[in-house]
């Protein structure tokens, strides 16, 4: 895995869904709901940052692990 400990998009989505579920629950205080909102927005920003929106060119790898542009 390239990211090491950093959460994957999938994990972030799951976390956001968890936050939403809690926010949409009945027994949540306003303070908690603000905190959760902040947290959710932060995670959404992380998700967006992960989709870096730069088109990639195909790379070629050799047995030694060296990368090169596809010719």
């Amino acid at each position: 895995m390239t990211e090491g400990k950093e959460a994957t998009l999938e994990e972030l989505f799951a976390e956001i869904d968890g936050i939403l579920e809690r926010m949409e629950g009945k027994d949540i205080s306003l303070e908690d709901s603000f905190l959760l909102y902040e947290e959710g927005m932060k995670k959404l920003r992380l998700c967006n940052a992960k989709i870096d929106r730069v088109e990639k060119k195909m790379l070629v790898i050799n047995a030694q692990g060296t990368l090169d542009e596809m010719t």
């Binding site: 989505f13 959404l44 730069v54 790898i61």
Partner: protein, 407 residues
């Protein structure tokens, strides 16, 4: 002398009968390679069995398809069991297949079966070893030939679904001598480099062409790979050992790309949806809190001291009003009674009496004199008349006899 002439139908019928009498042609097994294989929509399979020197037309009718347990294709080495009969209309004979088997002791097919069984027994196909393919990959490794259709298909589909995914190709040799080693190196290089998933595959071909994907070293490399592997070998109908070991089997390289690369527009939609929900639920919560607050404020105002003071004030005003009304009623009542009494009083008014000539007498202490017994000669009296007073001194006092006494 010329021999007798027969019609074509007669001759063909005769030859057909000759074949039919032959014990060996009734049940025969022919060994050869399949070519010109056509699957007809009716379910019949038309093909040719050939060796280096000769060929024979063959057909397997739909009703006999149970005798074929593998997807037969061009170049397959087969043993065909059936009968050889004449097709009268064309004057041709052909092999009517009842059963078709892969040919030969030590054939690739048998090797495949043996390895499959061995790896299955070792548990290498077990579900518990299958790693899930991440839902949103950012880098995708591809082990396939750099020039084939497979890499183009993967590239096209990956780009269409998500152009931001980084594809890294290991240009492998996928068939012939050294193919298995090349594929193994590709898997290891990509696993070591670090990608989110790896597609291992190639386009369709004969069992020989696909053979590298049935080699044990390739199967082991896939099994040991830390990164999830999607196999994509040949067509839907080709199943290689690698397909069993892989974490996910895709029927074709295109399908593998579909499975590996998520649709970025869908992903962005999902993100937006969550953003909306997040905002909405925060706004809703805020609104709920606000309305709760308003409700509390109302309640508080209702119980506030000044509100109670107002209430008391109101009660005072009410009481005052009631008091006034009561008072006015009493006063009116009193007035009425005064009027009545005044009328009556008027009837007995001393003033009236005075105007008739009576006199009202007071003594020096301003007290009424009602009897002569209180008066002595020389006392000063005041006589009240209708239009004034007379001060007089008593010159004499006469007491009437008893019967003349009046109060």
């Amino acid at each position: 002398m010329k021999p007798q002439a027969y019609s074509v139908s007669q001759i063909n019928a005769y030859v057909k009968a000759m074949f039919a009498q032959d014990f060996m042609l009734k049940r025969v097994c022919v060994k050869g390679e399949v070519s010109n294989c056509k699957y007809h929509s009716s379910g019949h399979i038309y093909f040719t069995v050939k060796d280096e020197k000769a060929a024979i037309a063959a057909v397997m009718f739909a009703g006999s398809r149970g005798g074929l347990s593998f997807p037969m294709r061009e170049g397959d080495k087969v043993l065909v069991s059936g009968s050889i009969e004449v097709y009268e209309r064309d004057g041709r004979y052909q092999l009517y297949a009842k059963e078709i088997e892969k040919d030969g002791e030590g054939s690739l097919y048998l090797k495949y079966e043996a390895l499959k069984r061995a790896l299955l027994e070792m548990g290498m196909f077990a579900e518990e070893y299958k790693k899930p393919i991440p839902g949103y990959i950012q880098t995708l490794g591809v082990v396939t030939a750099p020039t084939g259709a497979a890499v183009q298909d993967i590239r096209t589909i990956a780009k269409r679904r998500n152009p931001y995914v980084q594809l890294i190709l290991y240009p492998a040799q996928v068939q012939g001598e050294g193919a298995a080693e090349s594929i193994v190196n590709g898997i290891r290089a990509l696993d070591a480099h670090g990608v989110d998933a790896i597609i291992v595959g190639r386009g369709g071909g004969s069992i020989e062409d696909l053979w590298a994907f049935n080699e044990e070293i390739v199967a082991r490399a896939v099994f040991e790979c830390e990164t999830p592997v999607i196999s994509a070998v040949g067509h839907e109908t080709d199943t290689t050992i690698v397909d069993f070991v892989a974490d996910l089997r895709a029927p074709t390289p295109s399908a593998a790309a579909e499975l590996a690369v998520c649709d970025v527009s869908e992903l962005l939609d999902e993100l937006n949806l969550r953003l909306l929900r997040l905002r909405q639920s925060a706004a809703w919560k805020k609104e709920a809190a606000r309305s709760h607050l308003e409700q509390l404020a109302k309640l508080l105002a209702l119980h506030a001291p000044f509100h109670r003071l107002n209430e008391k004030r109101q009660r005072i005003v009410d009481a005052q009003e009631r008091l006034t009304v009561q008072m006015e009623r009493k006063i009116a009542d009193g007035r009425y009674r005064i009027g009545l009494l005044a009328g009556r009083l008027d009837g007995v008014s001393p003033a009236k009496k005075l105007s008739q000539g009576f006199v009202f007498v007071t003594d020096a202490k301003q007290e009424r004199v009602g009897s002569v017994s209180n008066v002595q000669e020389g006392d000063l009296l005041r006589l009240h008349l209708k239009d004034g007073v007379i001060d007089a001194a008593v010159q004499g006092v006469t007491v009437y006899a008893e019967e003349g006494q009046k109060g």
